[in-house]
């Protein structure tokens, strides 16, 4: 609850560094559809860590990284072996390998618990709260021991990604093509596995070997929901990871006290994973292109657009026959012919009025000039499609109407021009109605885009 300068600052810095280190390989894991491989490796490094520990007896040393890197490669190779030679499905092969290695590591650690200072709980869930207390001298400053380690891993990961960016991208996207252009995608795969394994080791003290998966996968997946471009995904993933780390620690020391005055704080590493999950959920709902909310809004707007185009079409056809459509009539027409609900109908009419495409004269609706021009496009698309579907696509003449009702809303000028060419510029649709001429109004706009470019 109470912020302690130095201590809490360091926790956030360490969390953020861990997040950055994980995000770099994690993004490629997500892109390759190997998210669960991250999970497998993070579990499987346990015996590697334990082994490194036994050899040296201390916690930060090269042995541990070496052991973990070997464990990472072993996991990848064994999984591949069981998949190819053992004819096991990939997920199952992974499950067999990592649970076995994890169990082995667990036995090793528990067996050695008396001799060495390695707490299984710490390995599994990390102890970021204690990390700032364990300090070393680094560049003349007293810093947490984990800081230089994480910094170095971050830098190494960054350098590897920058050096092999192109190769990583190609072999993630299209391994066959990568091979044909002389890129060893198998080697890239191994590099990624070693990177993941080493990162897991560097982070396990901070976030624990299970929660490291949340840093590997969640920020990258979140960024993927927001952007479709890889370079932006990488940058966004780093940002999401850092925010998640900060948010995680802050909520770990504040949120529990909202519920009970007895509890001061909770596990930061756990809350970091939760925070990352919350950020993912936010992106899932709010992402600019693929978010659920955007899609829902889009769906409503599309529906309104379709209904308002239907209104224009109806008004045009009534005009054509010299009839008029009363205010009272329009709802019924929309419900029965365009299958539009009351809400969509109302929104559509409001939108048409606002755009001055229709206006009310006494008790009837009328098209404005601009509205008529738009209505001509819709009706023209409709009748061109009817004609085309009947003549070119062999649909029965009494069936084309329904399809044309759907297609008229997605038809642009180029498609209309193409339709006209293919139907041989006939003047009547299959029902004997005239097809309104295309460029009667606003021809400059339409003529500006010649067909076939």
């Amino acid at each position: 609850m109470s912020w302690m300068n130095g201590l809490d600052d360091w926790i956030i810095v360490l969390g953020a560094l861990a997040a950055i280190a994980c995000v770099l390989p994690g993004t490629f894991l997500v892109l390759r559809g190997m998210g669960m491989m991250g999970d497998a490796i993070s579990h499987a490094v346990l015996p590697g860590i334990a082994l490194g520990f036994f050899v040296s007896g201390t916690r930060d040393n090269v042995w541990m990284f070496l052991g973990a890197a070997i464990a990472g490669i072993v996991t990848a190779v064994l999984t591949q072996f069981l998949h190819r030679m053992g004819r096991l499905e990939r997920g199952a092969a992974m499950g067999v390998v990592f649970t076995s290695l994890f169990a082995l590591g667990l036995v090793m650690i528990v067996q050695a618990a008396d001799h060495v200072d390695l707490d299984p709980n710490c390995v599994l869930y990390g102890a970021i709260e204690l990390a700032p207390l364990d300090t070393v001298m680094f560049l003349g400053m007293e810093v947490p021991r984990a800081f230089p380690v994480l910094l170095v891993v971050c830098l190494i990961n960054l350098v590897i990604i920058l050096l092999f960016y192109k190769e990583m991208v190609i072999s993630s996207f299209d391994p066959d093509m990568a091979r044909s252009t002389g890129i060893h995608s198998g080697l890239m795969n191994q590099v990624l596995m070693v990177m993941t394994a080493a990162t897991c080791v560097a982070c396990f003290e901070v976030v624990g070997s299970i929660l490291v998966v949340s840093l590997l996968v969640i920020p990258a997946a979140t960024a993927r929901l927001i952007s479709d471009r890889l370079s932006i995904v990488l940058v966004l993933a780093v940002i999401v990871g850092v925010i998640g780390a900060g948010l995680g620690h802050i909520s770990a020391i504040t949120v529990p006290s909202w519920f009970s005055s007895d509890v001061e704080d909770t596990s930061t590493s756990g809350m970091m994973a939760v925070a990352a999950g919350v950020l993912f959920a936010l992106a899932w709902v709010l992402a600019p292109r693929h978010g659920l909310l955007v899609l829902a809004i889009h769906r409503i707007r599309l529906r309104v657009r379709i209904v308002s185009e239907d209104v224009l079409g109806f008004l045009f056809r009534f005009e054509e026959r010299g009839e008029s459509m009363s205010v009272h009539n329009i709802r019924q027409t929309l419900t029965s012919l365009a299958d539009a609900g009351p809400l969509a109908s109302r929104l559509a009419i409001v939108s048409l009025k606002r755009r001055r495409l229709v206006y009310r004269e006494g008790s009837v609706w009328k098209l404005s000039d601009a509205g008529r021009a738009r209505a001509v496009e819709v009706v023209r698309s409709h009748r061109l499609w009817e004609t085309w579907l009947w003549r070119q696509a062999d649909l029965a003449a009494d069936h084309v109407h329904g399809q044309a009702m759907r297609l008229e809303h997605v038809t642009d000028e180029r498609m209309r021009a193409e339709l006209e060419i293919q139907t041989g510029s006939v003047s009547q649709d299959p029902h004997g109605r005239p097809i309104p001429a295309g460029d009667s109004e606003g021809e400059d706009g339409a003529a500006a885009s010649p067909p076939g470019d």
């Binding site: 004819r87 026959r321 029965a396 399809q403 029902h431 004997g432």
Partner: protein, 275 residues
């Protein structure tokens, strides 16, 4: 508007569907991810025919069968089997999926697979008994595989696997058989074996509809044809329908406009690239 225009329809009689047809499809449109792959399919297959569905790759042949059986959702239209919905007539319809659609490494033998055809009639929780096994054995005999009944399915050749699938359909004793590419990559003798089994079914008054890809064997093997390319180009007896003109219209390139329209519809509904 529909009502006002319908009176002036110049051609094509209205769609009066035959309530006794084993399969009749009314105005069916099917989409994957909102992108239409079958447009307004309207079709009646008469009883007792050996029918095939032909068309180029991506024409929607397999999708047509799956949509009829409610395995993929339809966005509009209706499918009836003998005038009723599939849920009331499942017992009379047998489906043979494409051979590639299952994992042939699965730990079952040929007899087990054929016995799956009896599961529906057995009902929930009742185990396969001697009667079901002997029915399955009989069906295996009909496709000449009785001696391989105990063989694990991955050790069968492609043609034998296809015949196992056929036997599984036979054991259902259905009145309508919907088969997805039963002749795909099988050897000549299997082709003959399958064909004679199908002819036998026809001679018993049952109806068979196959998705087919080999134009050369259409005339000699089938008596009814549906020519499909995202929509039904033509359907009818072989003599009337299997013409050069119809073939050209079915296979003569895709209708790019229909493709474009389908893409535009899919995009609009997925919310991509919209003004």
């Amino acid at each position: 508007m529909m009502a006002t225009n319908a009176s002036s329809v110049p051609v094509v009689p209205g769609s009066e569907h035959d309530a006794t047809a084993p399969l009749s499809i009314h105005d069916m449109t099917v989409a994957y991810h909102r992108k239409p792959v079958l447009w307004d399919v309207d079709l009646d297959v008469p009883e007792g025919q050996l029918a095939c569905i032909i068309g180029p790759n991506g024409a929607g042949k397999s999708t047509l069968l799956k949509a009829c059986l409610d395995l993929v959702p339809r966005i509009s239209g209706e499918v009836q089997f003998w005038g009723e919905s599939i849920s009331r007539q499942r017992g009379r319809v047998a489906y043979v999926p494409q051979r590639e659609s299952v994992d042939w490494d699965f730990p079952v033998n040929a007899l087990d697979v054929v016995a799956m055809g009896t599961y529906r009639r057995l009902g929930w929780c009742r185990p396969v008994g001697r009667r079901q096994r002997s029915a399955a054995m009989e069906a295996l005999e009909r496709v000449d595989l009785a001696d391989l009944a105990g063989r694990q399915i991955s050790q069968l050749s492609g043609g034998q696997q296809q015949r196992v699938f056929l036997a599984r359909a036979l054991v259902q004793d259905a009145d309508l058989y919907l088969m997805d590419e039963p002749f795909a990559s099988v050897d000549a003798s299997t082709e003959q074996a399958i064909l004679s089994a199908l002819r036998e079914l026809r001679s018993q008054g049952r109806t068979v509809i196959c998705v087919h890809h080999d134009l050369q064997t259409v005339q000699e093997s089938f008596d009814w044809v549906v020519m499909l390319n995202m929509r039904v180009v033509a359907a009818g007896s072989i003599e009337d329908t299997f013409t050069i003109e119809n073939l050209r219209r079915t296979y003569g390139g895709r209708l790019t406009l229909l493709d474009q329209a389908a893409m535009a519809l899919g995009r609009a509904h997925r919310g991509e690239e919209e003004g």
